[in-house]
Symmetry: C2
């Protein structure tokens, strides 16, 4: 209650402040720290049942805050998920999808032409109004071409890369991925920022940690509220860890990476306490999509009891670990069944800053403050998209699948398996099965693993559909899809000559421009 009152007070103060009435000695809105993991799965944390229990810091964070059991991403793939987090909008609205094939996942490899449209309002742009300084550390993934960069979209600082750390490349067929400080590149992965694929050694998580600690200290010293988006990539394949962590996990290299992240989160929270700003910093930990089971067990994590993984719209593809931490405000030891979504971090952050979400566009994010501060539950749907196809929806405990698909038989026969060891007849299908007339419905409480569809003859099935159908209809009728950004690829737009390359002597010559439709196999 006290916390809500405080939030209201900030909001009032910020309204006054926006009106030019500066209030001296007014309390600052809380800092916002979003810790976004890359391909980490629900089942990778001890607190979610990982049998090796190697995440003591994250488990403690959960014990000191609120653990979400039903928290989702907005897409089973990285770029659209991140676009959703920063815009508060489904990727279908912001344009972070493709129409090149039916129900295809798409992202931003370095041949992508598109990126985050200027028309989208990103969280750091809006937080500026409330006086926040914003930094992204790590992976951007909303377009690597200069017009799409973080500093063009509200961030004040950036340390990290625009794309995944795939490689090494020969800088002929493809350039290595650049690493930026703010507007200019400072090197490339596998060059100035080495990743040893054989040993798995890389210092990147340590560098990202230092960037976070330094930023927090600087903002605290300057008495400025900050938004830090810590979007590290250590559990995305190729998986890496720094030397002190290599070989320390019972889970192999993937576990080493998790341990280093866990340790880093512990250090960040420790610094907040040390600086006496823990009670003024809202921290949220989550991941961009489910564990990439296709890379497991050495390069991929665990989705616990859930079905399949990254790339799919089963629970393993989209249910995420999620912890909210804000000492003195969020009561310790809470567990919430609120259906949450990464898009809620947009709306919740605005609420923390005393700002209202934009009114000129549809916003899908929910303000989670009533949930984290008072334990309130709000009914809301979770939509599961692949491309512009609504694959499934969850409302309450019921999930209805309108389409089922993992990947094509052709890919599957070549060994591409998003559900290794799992096979639910009629559910994990390798042809795109339309179920819009008779959706497959699961009760996720009794059957979190999506193994037992409800009988279509049951009253429960009919009741569930009667609840879900109008919600879906309303969503679809009101939906205005954005211009798809992930349709066109061109080798000429790759990271040949990023800003700053001249200073480093690291500019490469791009090939002839040859735009083509991107190929999205699944």
């Amino acid at each position: 209650m006290a916390a809500v009152a405080a939030a209201t007070r900030w909001r009032l103060l910020l309204v006054l402040s926006a009106a030019g009435l500066r209030v001296t000695g007014a309390p600052q809105p809380p800092n916002i720290l979003l810790l976004l993991m890359d391909d980490m799965g629900w089942g990778d944390l001890g607190v979610y049942g990982e049998p090796s229990r190697e995440t003591p810091n994250l488990d403690r964070m959960a014990a000191e805050g609120m653990l979400f059991l039903n928290f989702y991403t907005a897409n089973p793939l990285c770029s659209p998920s991140r676009a959703a987090l920063l815009t508060g909008r489904l990727p279908i609205r912001s344009g972070f999808y493709t129409t090149n094939g039916h129900a295809r996942n798409a992202y931003t490899p370095q041949e992508i032409v598109g990126g985050i449209p200027d028309s989208e309002l990103l969280l750091p742009e809006l937080l500026k109004e409330a006086g926040y300084t914003s930094k992204i550390v790590g992976k951007w993934h909303l377009g690597h071409r200069p017009q799409f960069h973080p500093l063009k979209h509200g961030f004040d600082e950036w340390f990290g890369s625009p794309n995944c750390h795939f490689g090494p490349y020969d800088n002929k067929a493809r350039p290595n991925i650049p690493v930026y400080r703010d507007r200019e590149m400072v090197g490339r992965f596998y060059e100035e920022f080495p990743i040893n694929l054989k040993t798995g050694e890389a210092n990147l998580t340590q560098i990202y940690l230092q960037e976070a600690l330094d930023f927090i200290k600087r903002q605290q010293a300057a008495h400025r509220p900050f938004f830090l988006y810590w979007a590290i990539d250590a559990t995305h394949a190729p998986v890496y860890a720094s030397r002190p962590f290599l070989g320390t996990s019972q889970r192999g290299r993937y576990g080493d990476a998790v341990r280093e992240i866990d340790d880093s989160v512990g250090r960040i929270l420790h610094l907040l306490r040390d600086l006496s700003i823990a009670e003024n910093t809202f921290v949220f930990f989550t991941s961009d999509n489910g564990a990439a089971l296709i890379s497991a067990p050495r390069q991929g994590g665990s989705n616990g009891p859930f079905l399949c993984g990254k790339q799919t719209t089963f629970e393993g593809g989209m249910r995420e670990p999620a912890i909210a931490w804000w000492p003195g405000h969020i009561p310790a030891g809470q567990v919430s069944h609120q259906l949450g979504d990464v898009m809620d971090l947009f709306t919740t952050s605005l609420s923390l800053a005393g700002l209202a979400p934009p009114r000129d566009r549809a916003i899908d994010g929910l303000d989670l403050l009533p949930t984290v501060l008072q334990g309130r539950l709000t009914d809301r749907p979770i939509f599961y998209y692949r491309g512009n196809t609504l694959m499934a929806v969850t409302l309450g405990q019921y999930k209805a699948h309108f389409w089922t698909w993992t990947n094509s038989w052709e890919e599957f026969r070549q060994g591409v398996d998003f559900c290794p060891g799992q096979n639910v007849s009629g559910v994990t299908t390798h042809s795109q099965e339309e179920r819009t007339k008779l959706p497959l419905v699961f009760h996720l409480g009794r059957d979190p693993g999506e193994r037992y569809p409800l009988s279509i003859a049951s009253t429960e099935y009919l009741d569930a559909l009667r609840w879900i159908t109008p919600v879906v209809r309303q969503h679809q009728e009101a939906l205005v899809p954005g211009q798809p950004q992930l349709n066109v690829c061109n080798r000429a737009v790759m990271n040949w000559a990023p800003p700053g390359c001249e200073k480093l002597g690291k500019c490469l010559t791009p090939p002839e421009s040859a735009p083509e439709k991107c190929s999205w196999p699944h």
Copy 2:
């Protein structure tokens, strides 16, 4: 350290006491309370990641004590598992197996002729030497014929039934299962002890709870150390709960049963504290085998991230939830990776009582006191049997399968599925596949779900086998199998006329004796 010293002191005192030197005012050895669940799975507790988090009391018990992550049963089926717990010996030694078929699970339905042999020494028999009063509440399952009953094998009191609560029967082809108080039946399931299969309502867990609370109070009042074996059966199909719990879980009826059990455990621990005997009562919570996925989701639980369930020798069949609780002795908030086994409860209980295990026979149980009191880890193998066939062994993080089998193609085609939704090629086989020459080896840390066998060409594979092979050879060379008890069935031995039936007018007439080989399909 203080606790170990105390245990040593008891031992000394008990040695003096056994030598006739009564010590007045000597401290009592601790009470022992074993909470054994029936078909509850590793993944059914919040603390192990069950997504609905409906076990606050068990989660608290874990937070106040030690949670085991690698605790096993000695067999994937109830009767042999319970025989192992009470004898400290593998079922192959005590005779709790069948040789009617290769690698077949067997138990004690009411047509079974055999039961626990008199030559076996059961925990309550041994605890008598240290002055314990022992009670079993719930399911015995070590033979229903009078010579096998608990009071013939060391228990002082019994409330419960000798067999599973299957039914209702017509008392013609089969009698309903009797419920005993001590030596005599007091009624039958579905008659005096109703279970409503339609609504799922039954008061049995409440009755079992009262039996536990009353026993504890009586023993505390009499200042007698007690051994209480609380072997309730609410999560074994047919699943039931009492009215206040029905419909309260997010997980359906199975979850209602879990909630009632969780509440009951909370009440038991609360009573121990209320009576100020918590610091003098060692409590251990575990289950007899993995969740029966064949009955899921309405009548079966969850094995979390593990492969398959009850009846199989995959992790889902034999890895169990396990919590040790002993305030003031076991430090709070501990998590252990010790490979533990239900047979360890035999040896550990003796150790608590200051007794040594019998020296005239092989004992497989380990004394877990160094683990729970000091966090020590001891290397030891876990053997996975089906009948008299060693299917697999785990040592450290490595598990080697010598045989793989779930069930026959014939059964599988009829819908009997021990691994619903799971299918690991070459692992979850429906023919009995011998792997003794080239075992399938898994690293359970990286791959707890047994999905990715190590390459037989890898150094890791060879190293693992070099470690495991001599341990298995030693085990097999020294093994003296007991006389198999689960080979012969006879409808004439069913519960037609249990002791006490005359008083109740509930004796039924048995059919002609017709001994036959029991049929064990899987």
